[in-house]
């Protein structure tokens, strides 16, 4: 396990960051990032490693970009400030991820909602109408999504796909690094979620 950096080391780097030393951010990342990831994972043992790493990285980059924020919050220890920021990010991301999974499950598994027996003529009619309504919703979403790659991601999500590599292949970005694939796939999913939110909002109105 990576050890928490010494307070003196963190304070020295903090002072150099405030002065704008261009090398201080790289040194701070090497000194603090892994310890930050480890401590965040210990704080949230049930949250997946990817979410924890993302949370720690974002907290670190926010701090390196604006080190004075640690002073505004009145924290005498920059690393302590970073831990609090990473924990907050992890908690927010975890909540967001739980909501997203719930939405995905809803879209992937949403089946007939009526209580009429399916094998009866009335049941078949109701089922057809429900499928037609769902097809209309999907068609509306497809129209809202202007990027063909987003539409490809939506099609896969409707099939219940969860593998990032599969999404990357559908988007034609499999030649990029895994990190870039993850970022682009996540952005596409976020755009789709927003579109779903807007579509559902209009339906309720």
């Amino acid at each position: 396990m990576r050890k928490r950096p010494l307070r003196e080391e963190a304070m020295d780097l903090h002072r150099r960051l405030l002065e704008g030393d261009p090398l201080a951010s790289e040194e701070a990342a090497r000194l603090m990032l892994d310890a930050l990831v480890t401590e965040t994972q210990m704080r949230f043992p049930r949250v997946d490693a990817q979410t924890v790493t993302d949370a720690a990285v974002d907290a670190l980059l926010d701090y390196l970009e604006n080190p004075s924020t640690a002073e505004r919050r009145g924290s005498p220890d920059p690393y302590g400030f970073l831990c609090t920021a990473a924990w907050r990010n992890a908690a927010n991301r975890h909540r967001g991820s739980v909501r997203r999974q719930a939405r995905e499950a809803l879209w992937a598994e949403e089946g007939p909602t009526s209580r009429v027996e399916v094998d009866t003529p009335l049941g078949m009619l109701v089922e057809e109408e429900e499928h037609a309504a769902r097809d209309r919703q999907v068609a509306e979403l497809m129209e809202v999504l202007t990027d063909e790659r987003d539409r490809a991601v939506l099609r896969l999500r409707l099939q219940g796909e969860r593998d990032t590599a599969a999404f990357a292949r559908a988007m034609g970005i499999e030649a990029l690094s895994v990190l870039e694939q993850r970022t682009l796939v996540k952005r596409a999913k976020d755009r789709i979620d927003k579109a779903i939110g807007r579509t559902r909002g209009r339906e309720r109105e």
Partner: protein, 139 residues
């Protein structure tokens, strides 16, 4: 500036991957050298790795370079020299790359400002049936 990672192999892999993720994310933030490298790579239609090679950086030093803050305008020469010396890369080439990205950024922000000025100069169409402005009535 790049220090060899200590600890066993698994830890070293995790260190590299979290730093690599940080460098990839930093490419979306203009405060970092990663952004400069990404912008330059995109303008030249090459990969960031190719730009790093052009500078004479190895993979680990390229990662470290990406995580540096971009040089400050007030101490540009000193900052570029410090970065180049820390990572053992070509200072002249690094200067050219940063200057080129700075210039493109400045031009694009100028053109955005001009677009704003044009928009500000437009007369807002009057609503149908609305009364004229006080000054119009005075004329």
């Amino acid at each position: 500036m790049t220090k060899p990672s200590d600890g066993h192999e698994g830890e070293s892999v995790s260190r590299t991957s979290s730093l690599a993720l940080a460098a990839a994310r930093a490419a979306e933030r203009p405060a970092f050298m990663a952004w400069i490298l990404a912008q330059y790579a995109s303008s030249q239609r090459v990969s960031v790795a190719a730009v790093a090679r052009e500078l004479g950086a190895t993979a680990p030093t390229g990662l470290g370079l990406a995580l540096c803050r971009r040089p400050r305008p007030a101490s540009f020469v000193e900052d570029v020299s410090a970065i180049a010396a820390a990572f053992g890369i070509d200072r002249a080439r690094l200067t050219t790359i940063v200057r080129q990205v700075d210039a493109v950024e400045a031009m694009s922000s100028t053109s955005t400002m001009h677009r704003g000025a044009l928009l500000a100069a437009r007369t807002r169409p009057r609503k149908k049936g609305s009364k004229g402005h006080k000054d119009d009535n005075a004329r």
